[in-house]
C-alpha cells in the first residue's frame, strides 16, 4: 500500500525557513562583533549660550549620584562647562565603550580600564595622550603604571582610586569566640580551628566565580611567594611561576580549603558575601570596593580588617602585605569635540579637592597622594598599603596578553579546589600560559 498524506512540518517552504533561520542565527553572531560606523565627534555639544557640555561615561551605576554631586562642584567653578554623567552596567561597559569610542556618540571623558586592559583602547588611538598636561609626579609607581600605554610609555588616563585586598573579619564573632586579629600564622590557623569548632564558617570564599580566586590567593598567600620582591624577580626573568615559593603560595590556598564553605566551587561570590553579611562566616578575603557592600548589607555588624600573616616557608624577610592596584581611571577621547575642556576636567581629577570627594562620596581610596580617607577602615587599608603594600601582581603585570594571569590562576585554583590538579600543575599551567606572550625585561 502506498499513500501520500500531507506531511506536517515538511513542506519546502518550511525547509527553506529552517535554512534561513540558520543563516540568520549565524549572521547575528557575526554581527555582534561589528563595530559601529565611525564618526568624528564626541557627544558633548555646545549650547547656544556658549556653554560646553562634556559627557562622562562610567561603569559604576551605583555611584552615578555621587559623581553628579562631585561634578556639580566642578561646574560651579567652571560656569561654562556642563557635565553629563552616564553610567552603564559594568559587565556591558567594555562593549559599550568600544563602540562609543569608535562612533559619533561616544563620551568626551570615558572611564577606562587600567594596566593591560587599557592597551586595546590605546592601540586603537581612541585616547589622547596626557603627557605634559597632567602631572602624576609623586604618585605611587604602581598606580601610575595603570595609566600608561605599554608600547609608547605615554600617560593616557588619570587614576581614580587605589584598590586594596585584605581579610575582612566580623569583630563580633571574633569577640564571641575569644579571638583577635591574628598576627602570626599559628594564631591565624588557631582562629580558623576555633571558629570551625564553633559551627561558624571561618573563611567565606565564592570559588564558583573564578575571578575572585586570584584575590583570595593574594590575600591568603602573598607573603608566601614574596610579595613585591617576587614581582621584580619574575618580571626580570630571574624567577618564573614554577618557582617553589610561588607553588607553595598556591598550596596555601589548597591547605586552607577546609576552612572554606563546603562544596566551595559551587558557592557564588554573592553567596559568600551573604554568608559574611549574615554573620554565618567570620572572615572573607575581599577588596576595598567590597567595604560599602558589607556596610550596607549589615549596618550593625562591626567589621575589622587584617593582613594575613606569612605562611610557613615564606622567603626570609617576607612580611604580611596589602596588595593593591589602581582602578577606575578617566581619560580623554580622541574624538572629543572639546579636548581642551575635557583635558582640564581630567587635570582637575589629579587635585586633592577631587580626591577628597572620591573618598568621602564614593567611599574609595583616592589615587591622589596625600588624600586621607575619612572612613576609618578605608584609612586602615590605605595606611597598610602605604606602609607594606605590594602590587596585585597578576593584575598589574600579567594582563597585557591572552591568556591573562588572573584568568589562568582563577581556573587553576578552581581545579586545585576540585582536586583535579595539584599546586605544581596549577603553577605550571600559569607559567606556560603567560609565557605565550610575556617577555621578561632582562
Amino acid at each position: 500500500m502506498t499513500f501520500a498524506p500531507r506531511l506536517t512540518g515538511s513542506s519546502r517552504p518550511a525547509r527553506r525557513s529552517v535554512l534561513a533561520i540558520a543563516a540568520l542565527s549565524g549572521a547575528l553572531v557575526v554581527t555582534a562583533c561589528s563595530p559601529s560606523t565611525t564618526g568624528t565627534s564626541g557627544s558633548g555639544g555646545e549650547g547656544g549660550d556658549g556653554k560646553v557640555t562634556l559627557t562622562v561615561w562610567s561603569w559604576r551605576v551605583e555611584d552615578q549620584a555621587a559623581y553628579t554631586r562631585i561634578f556639580d562642584a566642578y561646574e560651579k567653578a567652571h560656569p561654562d562647562v556642563t557635565i553629563d554623567v552616564k553610567a552603564f552596567k559594568a559587565t556591558e561597559y567594555n562593549k559599550i565603550l568600544a563602540t562609543g569610542l569608535a562612533g559619533a556618540n561616544g563620551p568626551d571623558v570615558p572611564q577606562v580600564r587600567s594596566y593591560g586592559q587599557l592597551q586595546g583602547t590605546v592601540a586603537g588611538k581612541s585616547l589622547l595622550p596626557l603627557d605634559g598636561k597632567v602631572d602624576l609626579s609623586g604618585w605611587d609607581d604602581n598606580v601610575v603604571a595603570s595609566a600608561k600605554g605599554k608600547e609608547d610609555g605615554k600617560t593616557y588616563s588619570v587614576p581614580l582610586a587605589r584598590q586594596t585586598v585584605q581579610m575582612f573579619y566580623n569583630q563580633g564573632l571574633f569577640d564571641k569566640n575569644g579571638l583577635k586579629a591574628p598576627t602570626t600564622w599559628a594564631e591565624f590557623i588557631a582562629a580558623n580551628d576555633r571558629l570551625l569548632a564553633a559551627g561558624v564558617t571561618p573563611i567565606a570564599v565564592g570559588a564558583k566565580d573564578d575571578w575572585t580566586l586570584p584575590i583570595v590567593h593574594e590575600v591568603l598567600a602573598a607573603p608566601r611567594f614574596g610579595g613585591k620582591a617576587f614581582q621584580g624577580e619574575v618580571l626580570s626573568g630571574k624567577k618564573t611561576f614554577t618557582d617553589p615559593d610561588w607553588v607553595g603560595s598556591v598550596q596555601v590556598v589548597g591547605e586552607l580549603a577546609k576552612y572554606m564553605p563546603k562544596n566551595v566551587t559551587g558557592v557564588a561570590q554573592t553567596d559568600a558575601q551573604t554568608l559574611f553579611s549574615a554573620e554565618r562566616a567570620a572572615m572573607i578575603p575581599g577588596g576595598s570596593f567590597d567595604l560599602s557592600v558589607f556596610q550596607k548589607a549589615n549596618p550593625g555588624m562591626k567589621i575589622g580588617i587584617f593582613q594575613v600573616p606569612p605562611a610557613p616557608g615564606s622567603p626570609s624577610g617576607s612580611t604580611a602585605t596589602t596588595a593593591g592596584w589602581a582602578d577606575g581611571n578617566f581619560a580623554v577621547s580622541a574624538r572629543s569635540k572639546h579636548p581642551a575642556e575635557a583635558t582640564e576636567l581630567v587635570t582637575w581629577m589629579t587635585s586633592k579637592e577631587f580626591g577628597q570627594m572620591v573618598t568621602d562620596d564614593i567611599k574609595q581610596i583616592s589615587a591622589v597622594p596625600g588624600v586621607e580617607p575619612t572612613d576609618p577602615l578605608l584609612k586602615q587599608m590605605s595606611d597598610s598599603y602605604a606602609s607594606s603594600g605590594s602590587p596585585y601582581l597578576l593584575l598589574t603585570d600579567f594582563r597585557y596578553g591572552a591568556p591573562s594571569g588572573t584568568d589562568l590562576l582563577g581556573k587553576g585554583l578552581q581545579e586545585l579546589l576540585l582536586g583535579s590538579k595539584d599546586a605544581a600543575e596549577v603553577s605550571q599551567d600559569l607559567d606556560a600560559g603567560v609565557k605565550t606572550w610575556f617577555k621578561p625585561t632582562a
Binding site: R15, A22, G26, V30, C33, V267
Partner: protein, 299 residues
C-alpha cells in the same frame, strides 16, 4: 504589476534588514581578514586571524573544549527534548479538552529570558542557600546534595537539563501540530486490520512525524551551536567552573569584549565567521538529508 506591489510591501523590512543585519554582517566578515589595533583597521591579514584560532593560546585549548561542549549540549538537548517533547505531545493529543491549557503551561518557561532562568536556577541550586540541596538533605539524601554548578561533572548537565526544561514547550507545540496533521483514517484503518496502539504509533504515526522531528532537530542544532544566554547566566563568560560550561559564543564574547587584546576584533570576527559557517553548513547538510528521507517516505 503584482510583483512590483509585493516589492513595495517588502521594501521597508528589507531596508531595515540590510542596514542592521546584512551590512554589519558583511563588514564583520571582512574584519576577519584584517589586522586590528583596537578599533583601528590595519593591513590585510589574509587567513592569519583564522590561523590564530588553531595555533595560539588560549584558543588551542579553549576552542576544542568549547566546540565539544556545544556538541554535547546539542546531543543532550536533542535526545532529551525530542523524547520527552514527543511523549508529552502524544499524551496531550489524546486529551483534547485539556490540551490547549497544558500546551500553554509547558510553553510558559520560554516566555522568560534565559538570563533570568539561569539566575533563578543558580539560586535554587546554590549549595549554601539553595532549596534543592536543603530539600535533599532534609529527605536524608545528603549524598545527593551536590555542588551542581560547582562540579565539572554535573555543571554541563545542569545547563542541558534546565535548557530542556525551559524549551520543552516548543517541541510539544510542534509535535502537537504535526500529530494533528496525521490523518486519523490511517490509524483507524490500521486498528481495523488488528494493529495495537503501539504498532499504530511506531508503524504509522512516527514515520509521518519524521519531518517534524527533523525540523526540531535542525532548530535544536542552531539553538545549541549559538547557545549563550543560559551558559552565561550559569557560569559567566569564562564557563565556570574550570571551563566546564564554556561554549563557542562565550569564547567569542570574552575574546571580543573581555580580553582587552589589541587585535580582539580580528580574532573574534574570525571566530564568529567560523561559527556562522558551522551553523549554516550543519543546518544545510541536515536539511539535505531530511529532504532525501522525506522524498523516500512520500514516494
Amino acid at each position: 504589476m503584482r510583483r512590483r506591489t509585493g516589492l513595495v510591501f517588502v521594501a521597508p523590512a528589507l531596508a531595515l534588514f540590510a542596514v542592521f543585519v546584512l551590512y554589519p554582517m558583511v563588514t564583520a566578515f571582512s574584519y576577519a581578514f584584517f589586522q586590528w589595533q583596537g578599533t583601528t583597521r590595519g593591513a590585510f591579514a589574509g587567513l592569519e586571524n583564522f590561523a590564530t584560532l588553531f595555533t595560539k593560546a588560549p584558543f588551542t585549548t579553549d576552542l576544542p573544549r568549547a566546540v565539544l561542549h556545544n556538541v554535547l549540549f546539542f546531543v543532550g538537548t536533542l535526545l532529551i527534548q525530542n523524547t520527552i517533547g514527543l511523549t508529552i505531545a502524544y499524551l496531550l493529543h489524546s486529551r483534547p479538552r485539556t490540551r490547549r491549557m497544558l500546551q500553554t503551561l509547558y510553553a510558559m518557561p520560554y516566555l522568560v529570558s534565559p538570563i533570568v532562568i539561569g539566575y533563578l536556577w543558580t539560586l535554587l541550586l546554590s549549595p549554601t542557600f539553595g532549596p534543592v540541596n536543603t530539600l535533599l538533605t532534609g529527605l536524608g539524601l545528603e549524598s545527593w546534595a551536590l555542588p551542581w554548578l560547582g562540579d565539572p561533572k554535573t555543571a554541563l548537565w545542569v545547563v542541558i537539563l534546565v535548557s530542556v526544561w525551559q524549551w520543552i514547550g516548543f517541541p510539544v507545540l510542534l509535535y502537537g501540530a504535526a500529530l494533528g496533521g496525521v490523518p486519523e483514517e490511517l490509524t483507524e484503518a490500521a486498528r481495523v486490520d488488528g494493529a495495537s496502539n503501539r504498532q499504530a504509533f511506531s508503524r504509522i504515526t512516527l514515520p509521518l512525524l519524521v519531518p517534524a522531528v527533523g525540523t526540531v532537530s535542525v532548530l535544536t542544532f542552531i539553538f545549541a551551536m549559538e547557545a549563550f544566554a543560559l551558559p552565561y547566566a550559569f557560569g559567566g563568560s569564562t564557563g565556570n567552573p574550570a571551563g566546564a560550561t564554556d561554549f563557542v559564543s562565550l569564547l567569542f564574547y570574552r575574546t571580543a569584549f573581555d580580553s582587552g587584546a589589541a587585535d580582539a576584533i580580528g580574532s573574534s570576527s574570525a571566530l564568529a565567521t567560523l561559527l556562522f559557517l558551522l551553523i549554516f553548513g550543519g543546518a544545510y547538510v541536515a536539511t539535505a538529508v531530511l529532504r532525501r528521507h522525506e522524498r523516500r517516505i512520500t514516494a
